[in-house]
Amino acid sequence: MPMAVEIPKEKWTGKVREVKLGATAAEGGTRQKTVTVGGESTLPFLTFEGDMPNPPAIAVEVQDRYPSDWSAVLKAAWGDVLNDPAAWAKKAEEYGADIVALKLQSAHPEAGNTDAAHAAATVKAVLAATGLPLIVYGPGQAEKDNEVLVAAAEAAKGERIALGNCEDKNYRTIVAAALAHGHLVVAKTPIDVNLAKQLNILISDMRLDLDRILMDPTTGALGYGLEYTYSVMERLRLAALTGDSMTQQPMICTVGEEAWRAKESKVNEGVPAAWGDWERRSKNWEVLTASTLIQAGADIVVLRHPESIQLVKQAISQWMAR
């Protein structure tokens, strides 16, 4: 008779909210599928003491101009589609993406300064090219974000897209656009539990339903602040499970953007030979950042490399298996 071992189980009282992206024809949109994230009543994959009804989802970043500043490894992997956001989005879907994360980078004053009409046209073209739900990001410059995200919200009316980033300085405009056109927002704060809570409160005070908010705790890549993101996510998730309502939003991490900025992924010149083969190293940089943050509670990871999509997807299905 083996020794009796009593496994300590947590009795969590809280649960992450479920958030649904995308709307099908029956729901007033044109998406072929919707993606629901969140709903966990346990820590990632610990299904022996709670539920994890939805697997973490993979969003793939698509930009509306040729990403000339990207690592050559990425450019080679995607090829020609990088010149056309619609073709790019379609390809991402083929590679197994759950969501397309469209970044309207060309609106940046230093990257073309394109206008609202251009943004609207891009969003429409991408919606037509793929049946996946969309997240639309502005170029990350407050004024232009407001301009193009409002246009994107209008162009995608009824599609239940997510608008990002919604930050303390611009949340009013973005939330108003989401309210007007039935969308979601990505609420981003710099690696801090209280700031994340606060922004969720401010947004819900504007009467955007809580099941329309994703939170982005700010991603530090492997070797470049990952440990801070990791711990703040664990703390947010523990707070959610112990019943702190304003931390119960699903979390999204912009892994690709951060991981591919690291010197280890970006270049191969003048780096120590001990870093190993560039291509494999750079993919590992993205994949391990993603997989580790999923362990900390990420519900959506935004990725860049086609092979990362497959690998992270495979890992998720293995963690979800009972």
């Binding site: 071992v5 440990e227 190993g276 362990q295």
Partner: protein, 448 residues
């Protein structure tokens, strides 16, 4: 988990003889509980009580040492489930598995490659902990020969993998005194294996078959046979299963103070993976969630380096970022007319910048401001790396006495402070450098 003062009091003689320097046994017990006294100060405490107190004072997860010398591996003795609750203390060892069925010359070459690989990250040297030699041949003599080669060439911790006690005995002859990890005692062979480990003063792994009760039994038996340095292998290989088992083991030790399973854990991520990439993902899982020894089936620097970076991240103390001392640093022997760059004392920032400056070959002064270990933007946002602080550091480290010009280059990310800095440093020209360190060499080429 320590005992309370009252619990300790029950184990003392209760005679209040004062020889320990305290007025009463209770007072002494309180001091002990607060770790302000040593038990040896009481001459009258019974052997039985001593044993009980020692057992209670032992850490919930035993500290186990594999190997000897300055590259030995210490694992276990962790105190929290989440790093933000305090910190993780003993980073897992990364071993590479090599089989005794590969040609000996190839084996030797691999051992040398692994031994010679090394890299520095944020000023901290990283190396492969050791190799795990597996007795795939089943032959004792062959195994002993390969282990001897690994022992001699590597001179680092080893894991000896064999199911046959005769093979293990032969291998241990070759490694006497260097405490390799004996892998593994199982339900079938534990007596012989434990005897060998005891004889050679080596730590031992016990392998279960998925059931934690069985694993606890086995660990207790091995302990009963006189080996206390135990490492656990729950015998589960799939990603979901290992995550659950390793989490439960950590909780049992820390939350239930369950002694039979209070040991560090060994994992084999390659055994549950279909590819090298999957192996890396699982190894990363084991780094974050609770392994003490990780045995990889592949040696690829492009994987090992990111894994070690992750290990460094997860095991950094959340309370104090890794920092360098502030000051005026000389890179490549600068002269008074060499360029002056300024950055923060966050190690990651410093080493990113210093590495590029060094790589450029251009003699340069690097002024390191005390940003309390924060990066450029974090420091700026927190007021620890602003115009005032930079100007202060210029004076504090006597910059004007060492350089003949008055030009200072600030990081591109804080371009917005250049006006303020010119006000703080009258007569100086503030130049905005590139945003990324990678672009510093090109920038320095054009500096004049």
């Amino acid at each position: 988990m320590g005992l309370s003062g009252l619990e300790i009091y029950k184990l003392l003689p209760k005679t209040n003889c004062k020889e320990c320097g305290q007025p009463t046994c209770l007072a002494f017990a309180m001091k002990l509980a607060a770790k302000q006294a040593e038990l040896s100060a009481c001459p009258y405490v019974s052997e039985e009580s001593k044993a009980k107190l020692a057992a209670a004072a032992a850490p919930p997860i035993r500290l186990v040492t594999i190997g000897t010398g300055d590259k030995k591996l210490e694992i276990g003795n962790e105190t929290v489930l989440f790093r933000h609750d305090k910190t993780f203390y003993h980073p897992p060892g990364l071993f590479i598995r090599l089989k005794d069925t590969m040609p000996l010359s190839e084996f030797e070459a691999m051992v040398e490659r692994i031994r010679d690989w090394g890299v520095e990250r944020v000023g901290i040297p990283l190396w492969v902990t050791g190799v795990a030699v597996e007795n795939t041949s089943g032959d004792a003599e062959t195994f002993a020969k390969y282990v001897a080669v690994a022992q001699e060439k590597m001179a680092r911790p080893l894991v000896l993998i064999a199911s046959n006690p005769a093979s293990m005995a032969a291998a241990l002859q070759q490694t006497d005194g260097s405490a390799p990890l004996v892998y593994a005692a199982t339900a079938d062979n534990w007596q012989a294996m434990a005897e060998l480990a005891a004889k050679h003063k080596a730590p031992i792994a016990v392998r279960g078959n998925g059931d934690l009760g069985g694993l606890a039994d086995l660990a207790e038996k091995v302990k009963g046979a006189g080996v206390e340095d135990i490492v656990l292998d729950p015998g589960i290989r799939d990603p979901h299963g290992t995550l659950v088992a390793l989490t439960q083991l950590r909780r049992l030790a820390l939350k239930s103070n369950f002694r039979p399973l209070g040991y560090p854990i060994i994992t084999f991520p390659g055994e549950g993976a279909n590819s090298e990439e999957e192996e890396a993902i699982q190894a990363a899982q084991h780094i974050a969630k609770y392994a003490g020894v990780i045995v990889l089936d592949h040696f690829d620097p492009a994987t090992v380096y990111p894994l070690m970076t992750l290990r460094q991240n997860i095991y950094t103390d959340p309370q104090k970022p890794i920092q360098v001392s502030p000051g005026l640093y000389e890179i490549s022997n600068p002269t008074p007319d060499s360029p002056l760059l300024v950055t923060t004392n966050f190690s990651l920032t410093y080493f990113s910048v210093a590495g590029e400056v060094e790589g450029s070959g251009k003699p340069t002064w690097l002024l390191i401001v005390d940003s309390e270990g924060m990066s450029v933007l974090t420091g700026w946002a927190a007021g620890k790396f602003d115009a005032e602080k930079i100007a202060k550091s210029v004076q504090q480290f006597n910059v004007p006495s060492k350089i003949s010009h008055k030009k200072i280059v600030i990081p591109g990310l804080v371009a917005s402070i250049s006006g303020e800095l010119e006000e703080e440093l009258p007569g100086w020209e503030v130049r905005v450098g590139p945003r990324e360190a990678i672009d510093i060499p090109a920038y320095l080429k054009t500096w004049n």
